[in-house]
């Protein structure tokens, strides 16, 4: 393989793994928000539900954007 191409491939692999780890962190935050909103609701406190849902949808949009970005990069290779 062309050394330049090989180096570029290695860089893309690092970016991929970094994005994957970031996605894992975001998913953990979403899980925490979901459980927090559910527990607060069951306690009778409804103040957390709407902000939690807005943040969760935002995080989902970020995940979709990253996934589409990765697909775009793969198509370019």
């Amino acid at each position: 393989m062309n050394p330049l191409k090989s180096r570029r491939h290695a860089q893309q692999a690092i970016i991929f793994v970094a994005l994957l780890l970031f996605c894992l962190v975001l998913l953990t935050i979403q899980l925490w928000l979901f459980v927090g909103a559910l527990e607060a609701h069951l306690r009778g406190n409804n103040g957390m539900a709407i902000p939690g849902a807005i943040v969760s949808v935002g995080v989902f949009a970020l995940n979709v954007w990253m996934f589409l970005g990765i697909r775009r990069i793969e198509h370019q290779v």
Binding site: R43, G44, A49, A53, N63, E74
Partner: protein, 163 residues
Amino acid sequence: MDDRLVEEFPVNWEDDDYVTRREFFRFMTLASGGLAVGSGAIAAWTTLSRSERSLDEVKVAAADQIPVGGSIAFEYPRKGDLCLLIHKEPGHFVAYSRRCTHLSCPVDYQPELKRLYCHCHNGAFSLEDGRVLQGPPPRPLPRILIQLRQDGIYAVGIAKGEV
């Protein structure tokens, strides 16, 4: 590879179905979408659910049956759902579920302290709105909606306690 290991874990690597990183990322994105939908559902539930519910009307007692500072137990809305009707001030009644929101022990009215008290874990609730005054209960007591009529006091619904 050690023969014994192969025997105990007979994995045929050629037939194994690998999950690629992209497939894993897609799965994570789908899980993220599921959590977003779940959080949205909780938000919709909290927004749309009514805090007060009208139920069957049940006569609890005659107004003159309970002295000021006194209380009477009744079951509402179903049999076994214990509630307490309290004559707080002359002509002013309040009713609450007797089931403590901690572990469902029955609460008692303490007229000298003007509160509802749970003996199990020292939980106490306000007589004004059922909010938690002390102890481990996580939320207020559900309030029973009552109506004073000519022929007595009627239970007509339930209001959830909001924190």
